[in-house]
Every structure is written in structure tokens, then in C-alpha cells.
């Protein structure tokens, strides 16, 4: 089964955000990691930069395809997961193994927290996944 934690916010492009104060920790969902499979490289190209909501944060290389990661919320990308960002070897596969935990990707200092209310909650995201699975 696809795991969708209740305490996170989600995007239609399958990122999640864990919001603590004005900081959002960002990753990709369990559904997204299963779709991509075999992740071999992650690069947060926006590290240190200011991004607008829905702009690319970086990209993920899986064996069969490359995908962009989009910012769920606007702000400054203040940190990337050092274990994973630009890492070679087995490390990027952590995104497959633990997408909501050790497989987090980056942190954003929010410039417009009002955007949070526009994100999907876990039940709306579960609906979206259900539709994607039965397309």
C-alpha cells in the first residue's frame, strides 16, 4: 500500500512538505518513489536560492527516467539533505527506502506561508493517488 502520512501537506506533482514554524522540510511521496523506482542520483539545484511555488528545486535520476522536483512553497532553499544531495553510490536509494524520513530532500524558509492553505491534505492527496493508480 502507498503510505500517506496524515501530518504532511502534498502537491499534485507528488512532493510532500512538513511545516514547522516558517520552515518546510520537503521530499517526494511514497507514490512518487514507487513510480520512479531505482533512484540513483538527486541534485537540489536551487540550494541557496530563492524559489517561487511550483518552480524546480532540482531533479531526480532513476534508472529509467529523470524527473524534476517542484517547490511546494515559495521561499529560500536553506538546506539540502547532505546524505543524498549529489551523492553517488547507494545513498540516493534512501529516497526509495524512506521517502518521508531519512529520504527528505531539502528545507525551505517560507516567504509566503499563506500558500500552505492551497496545498493538499492527506485525504485529498490519497484521492489523487487513487485516480492515478486506476487510470
Amino acid at each position: 500500500m502507498t503510505e500517506i502520512p496524515a501530518d504532511l501537506k502534498y502537491t499534485k506533482t507528488h512532493e510532500w512538505a512538513r511545516i514547522q514554524g516558517d520552515i518546510a522540510t520537503v521530499g517526494i511521496t511514497d507514490f512518487a518513489q514507487k513510480e520512479l523506482s531505482d533512484i540513483v542520483y538527486v541534485e537540489i539545484t536551487a540550494l541557496g536560492k530563492t524559489v517561487k511555488q511550483n518552480e524546480p528545486l532540482g531533479f531526480i535520476e532513476a534508472v529509467k527516467a529523470t524527473s524534476d522536483i517542484y517547490a511546494p512553497l515559495s521561499g529560500e532553499v536553506i538546506e539540502a539533505n547532505q546524505q543524498i544531495n549529489k551523492a553517488e553510490g547507494e545513498a540516493p536509494a534512501m529516497v526509495n527506502r524512506d521517502p518521508y524520513g531519512q529520504g527528505w530532500l531539502c528545507r525551505i524558509r517560507l516567504s509566503n506561508p499563506a500558500e500552505i492553505s492551497g496545498l493538499l491534505d492527506s485525504s485529498s492527496y490519497a484521492e489523487l493517488v487513487k485516480r492515478s493508480e486506476h487510470h
Partner: protein, 365 residues
């Protein structure tokens, strides 16, 4: 309407992530492309290739007909022998690549699933003399058992001794007490076999095979690993690396184009001219020098000038780096040439290497 192969229930039971491919529900992967890839390279894996088109050609003119339709020389085939071949249009473009089997009283053409209908129509339009064509795709199931342990695994449930069976030879045998045709063929670069069996008895063979292979950690393998395995060998994929706009000479398939065979073949005149003038572009193997992963449709550059296009690209699980097949201007096709591929706005360095990328396959020659 998407069809299911006879093994559909087994794919679901094994946790296959199903996708539509060539009109069938097929497993993209089970537990990951990389581990499935390594399974085939190290022991043995099983591919459901029932989506491939199977076309039976019989009648007294069957051999002459097949020889006219394909570029390789089918007349050299002994009974129970097979060959890789290509069908071309009159302009030299590729209709499909295929395997041709010769049996006592008929030939069997095994074609790409996505081209089954197109190929059947193409063959039908050219029928002449005493030739009967029968598309037997639906009644025959097909499995590929591939890997260095394929023989010790199959041996346990096969009625004949497989060790004398040569590369691209076939035999009739009972596998799990089911009448099959078994050939030493495959598309992975490893030793291995393909089985052709009655669709209604397919599950019995699958189940017995899984039991027999248990000691070799046998697993079903999805389309994802099928693609990385073939790509490491520079085996062409129709729709990516070859199509109606590509001729077999530029694709590096000249070894199956036999200009001197009796009776000629469709496309021979144009291909002969291309052979004399030399193809303008060549399909080359590119190995990335950094960690980037090339993908189809990316542009290839030499000294800042565009000289070609990637047709297949992936992370090679065996080499641990990005690899690609690309058509490049002939001037830049020599092994050792340094090229660049535009990947996400960057020009990444790539080296033309000699095929195959993976040189340790257990495939018999």
C-alpha cells in the same frame, strides 16, 4: 482493449507493477530494475515475452518467401536453426527486426509485439506462390529464461539434454511435461533459452520453472530490466534505435544484410547503394565520463556542432554509469572519439566505445 498474457495472474501474485506495452498488460518491474538486472547477470531470471508476435509460414514456397522478405539469408538455415534478421521497405527503412526459425514443415517469425499487426499485414500483402501465413500469437505463450544458471535450472524439468543445443538452435522437448519448442536464444547477452508452449498449459510450465530455479534464486523479470540488459549489449529496440526512417546499415546491422543471396530481398537495391556510398550516420555506443545519465532525443555535439541524437539512454546497472546509443555523423563514429551530450542544459562528456558495453556476458557464441 488491453490484453493479458497467459502469465498475468502470476505477475500480479509476484507483485508486478503492471503497465500497458504493445497492447498487453506486462510487468514493468517486480522489486526493482537494478536487482532484477543483476539477477539475470548473476544467476537466472524469467521474462514473459508472450507479447511478441509469432507468425507461422508454411507451404512449398515458404522458405523462398521468407528469404525475399528478410535481409539475412534464410536459405542457409538448417532445420531447427534460427537467425536474427530484419525486414525492410523498398527504400531500405526497417519494417521490423525479428528472429526466423526454420522447422521441418514451416518457418516461424518472431517479431516485436508492437509491430505484430503491421508485420502480418506487410507479409500478407506480399504473399506469392504456395505460402500460408498464420498468426499464432494468441495460442502460443513465450518465455525467456536467461542467465548463467539458465541451463542448470531448465535441465531439471526438460526432457532433453540441453548441453549440445547451440546458440540460435532449437529443439522439441517436454518442459514440465508440456510439449515445447526450446531454443538457445535471448536478448540479454547472457546464456539462456526461449520456450514456445501452448498458451493453455503455460501456467504449469511457469510454476515448475519457479520451483526448479529456487536454488538459483530464480525471479520473474520486468520490462525495465529487459531494457537495461539489452542496452548494455547494444541490442536495438524497435521504436527507439530502429524504425522506418533508419536502414540496417547505419544501425550496425549490416551483419544480417546478405546482398549476395539468391533471389534478392526487398530493399536490396537501395541498401546496396548506401553500402557503396557508406551510411551518413552510424549508431554508436556512448559511455558518459561523468555521472550524468543520457536519455532519448538528447542532442550530441562535437566541437560545439550538433552531430547526432541519442536514441536510447540509461544508467547501466553493470557499469554504474550512464550509457547511450546515438546516431552520429559518420566522421564522429570511431571508437575513442570524444563527444558531448546536452543533458539538462549542460554539455556532458561522452566517449564512443566499442560494443557491447557489458563484455562479460555468458552468452554462447
Amino acid at each position: 482493449m488491453i490484453k493479458n498474457t497467459p502469465f498475468y495472474s502470476r505477475h500480479l501474485a509476484a507483485g508486478g507493477k503492471m503497465v500497458e506495452f504493445a497492447g498487453y498488460n506486462l510487468p514493468l518491474q517486480f522489486h526493482g530494475i537494478i536487482p532484477e538486472h543483476q539477477r539475470v547477470r548473476t544467476t537466472v531470471g524469467v521474462f514473459d515475452v508472450s507479447h511478441m508476435g509469432r507468425i507461422r509460414i508454411s507451404g512449398s514456397d515458404a522458405l523462398a518467401f521468407v528469404n525475399q522478405m528478410t535481409t539475412n539469408d534464410a536459405s542457409t538455415l538448417a532445420v531447427n536453426q534460427a537467425q536474427y534478421s530484419v525486414m525492410c521497405y523498398p527504400d531500405g527503412g526497417i519494417v521490423d527486426d525479428l528472429v526466423v526459425y526454420r522447422f521441418e514443415d514451416h518457418l516461424l517469425l518472431v517479431v516485436n509485439g508492437a509491430n505484430n499487426e503491421k508485420d502480418t499485414n506487410w507479409l500478407q500483402e506480399h504473399l506469392r506462390g504456395d505460402v500460408r501465413l498464420q498468426n499464432i500469437t494468441e495460442t502460443v505463450a513465450q518465455l525467456a529464461v536467461q542467465g548463467p544458471k539458465a541451463e542448470p535450472c531448465l535441465k531439471k524439468i526438460c526432457s532433453i539434454d540441453l548441453s549440445p543445443l547451440g546458440f540460435y538452435w532449437a529443439a522439441r522437448a517436454k518442459v514440465a511435461d508440456v510439449d515445447c519448442i526450446i531454443s538457445r536464444t535471448g536478448y540479454t547477452g547472457e546464456d539462456g533459452f526461449e520456450l514456445y508452449l501452448p498458451a493453455e498449459q503455460a501456467l504449469r510450465v511457469w510454476d515448475e520453472l519457479m520451483l526448479a530455479g529456487k536454488e538459483f534464486q530464480i525471479e520473474p523479470i520486468g520490462l525495465g530490466a529487459r531494457d537495461t540488459l539489452r542496452l548494455e549489449m547494444k541490442y536495438c529496440l524497435y521504436g527507439n534505435d530502429i524504425d522506418a526512417t533508419i536502414n540496417p546499415l547505419e544501425a550496425g546491422l549490416g551483419f544480417v544484410v546478405k546482398f549476395d543471396k539468391a533471389g534478392g530481398f526487398i530493399g536490396a537495391d537501395v541498401l546496396r547503394r548506401i553500402a557503396e556510398e557508406k551510411p551518413k550516420r552510424r549508431l554508436v555506443c556512448l559511455e558518459m565520463k561523468d555521472r550524468s545519465i543520457p536519455r532519448p532525443h538528447q542532442k550530441v555535439y562535437a566541437d560545439g556542432v550538433e552531430v547526432g541524437t541519442v536514441t536510447s539512454g540509461t544508467m547501466s546497472p553493470s557499469l554504474g554509469k550512464g550509457i547511450a546509443l546515438a546516431y552520429v555523423n559518420r566522421k564522429y563514429a570511431a571508437t575513442g572519439t570524444e563527444l558531448e551530450i546536452e543533458i539538462r542544459g549542460n554539455r556532458a562528456k561522452a566517449l564512443v566505445v566499442s560494443p557491447p558495453f557489458y563484455k562479460h556476458g555468458s552468452r554462447k557464441k
